[in-house]
Symmetry: C2
Subunit: 391 residues, 2 copies
Amino acid sequence: MPATDDFTVTPYAVEGDIDYDRLLDEFGAESLTTEQKAQFPQPVHQLIRRDVFYAGRDVDAFLAAANEGKTHSIVTGRGPSGPIHIGHIIPFYFAKYLQDQTGCLVYIPLSDDEKYLLKDKSLDEIHGHTRENLLDILAVGFDPERTRIVVDTADADVVYPLAAAFAKEVTQSTVDATYGDPENIGLSFYPAVQAAHLLLPQLVEGRHPTLVPIAVDQDPHVRVCRDIAAKQRYDVSKPGALLSKFLPALEGPGKMSSSGDAASIRLSDDRETVFEKIRNHAYSGGRRSVESHREHGGDPEVDVPYQFLYYFFEKSDERVERLAREYRDGSLLSGELKEIAAASIADFLEAHQNRREELGPVADELKQYRLRESERQAARKQAGYPSTRVF
Amino acid sequence: MPATDDFTVTPYAVEGDIDYDRLLDEFGAESLTTEQKAQFPQPVHQLIRRDVFYAGRDVDAFLAAANEGKTHSIVTGRGPSGPIHIGHIIPFYFAKYLQDQTGCLVYIPLSDDEKYLLKDKSLDEIHGHTRENLLDILAVGFDPERTRIVVDTADADVVYPLAAAFAKEVTQSTVDATYGDPENIGLSFYPAVQAAHLLLPQLVEGRHPTLVPIAVDQDPHVRVCRDIAAKQRYDVSKPGALLSKFLPALEGPGKMSSSGDAASIRLSDDRETVFEKIRNHAYSGGRRSVESHREHGGDPEVDVPYQFLYYFFEKSDERVERLAREYRDGSLLSGELKEIAAASIADFLEAHQNRREELGPVADELKQYRLRESERQAARKQAGYPSTRVF
């Protein structure tokens, strides 16, 4: 994507064409090196190989622990403001890959509080989305022994005490400078809740490297939390971050919207819908006519169906490179590329939907992923609270 | 006390000589009328008769419910930043009087979160005070069937979801204007927690009049909560307030300090200590010499031992008026008045301490005062959360 001055990236707004390298300069994060990429478990995931996760903070400590069989954890959350689309689920499948390969702990916070505070939606609406989102997350198939799912208001007995403790370390002016002036005092406080999410694995399991795979716009949350950890009031290391680019929107470059846009692909879309959306809405890098395309070729760099395959949905490097080559030389038509991408996404969604359908009621399924009582007490104690829950 | 321009009253600072009438003008509250005072249960408590509780908001609705035998509640809390002194416990004994007379519900929140966020103390210190403060509150002897005690971080499963919901209604600029710029984002959020305290009785028991007996400096908390209630997103009426003057400090006019000042009288002080503190530290309205006092008389209006008796510790109006008369005409000496006040306070404290000593471990005693599971679910549901606790 072209570098321009015309883009905005905060946790609440992503606009314009994004210069990912300049973002790193501004945020103070570092590109992943070839050596770092090689230390991810083999075979290295395409998200790493292809620089979708392109930068990070303190990635080395996490990789060292993973390769030495020591405790290490991923925190990857979800703001339940609407149905999950394909861009949102990718970090969860990435976490699942890491868990399968290295046994890493996966902590999954759902910020129903933040989304209620941020959106013009009722608690009922937010919790409808929360239940649906949970089923999608459960369908990924995490190992219950190594995975914990936390819903902020349902697990407030542990989330709030931690957040209140961490809040003492964060000034309002830090929040204003990082996020812009919050709309309400719940959003003023929310960075402390997010710090509780990111430090929770260490509070439960003891000090260890945590990595937070997030789209680059969420980096400010990690930085606020790293500042809290750096004050050394708690026995935790600063959480690391693995920063990703945004999956392009169907209509073209920029972040995919979750706000009910009919043109984004949802996890619940059936095969026909996926094909319809890709055929009719996906931004193409092809030429206007078949003749022109055969003669001049298309541009995979801006072609959304190609980008979907490249980012995540085509595992084979050989195949994804061949598609780009054939698209450029005009032998692969735009419509053909769309069919290939749609089939790949539809296959992925069908497998996901089948796993989801096999799940029981969400409350029953969730039980095995909730924090154990001993883990809640451990976290509270590590945050400085009395070891008994009741005075 | 004289009216001057030289005073400051916010929830975090009380300084200078206080003009209680001007405070009402500024805060928009109203003095209690003779008719309102007469509607308190008979015999009307000396705190009401003598204008210590001198003003309020929406007191009529509370009194009507009390006199008609309908549901009504008091919320009176404690910030556990240190040992309780005699000024702090008075609202609890007042609530106990109301509960005995009218069967009113008493909700008692302990804001350990706020005190940790506000003070330069560790969580350990705050929770040491919390345990000690709880024992003193339990020693008042509330009816467990009609009393609920909530500790913010120990009851966060209900406090935080409510506070997060209410926080959406409060802007940061409202908080800044009401309290001054908060020191950290926990204090930015705290007015939402306090709103949860004040609306909790109605969320648990259904809409009914709630009265909050507080020193006038805490009125801003009530106003923020009343604004939330006024938005009618929830089925609650605006909590009323009963506003009190400050019990004078031992050394003279102003608010009694809880910050470990040796000269304030603590609930744990034994008889000898009380006498020593009153004799050696209490500000006297008497004359310099016995001869001068016999000739010109003393001034009970500024005499702290007299004020202690007048505010709370001498129930008999006849006796308290006689003491003032005899002090003014010189027949009652300053030292004699001190002995009378010290004896009355020491008697009160001995009775309190005896009840406290009969209590078992705090966790055991507290159990019967904690929110029942059904009450927690009712409050969360009334605040707009799913009726089941787990998704």
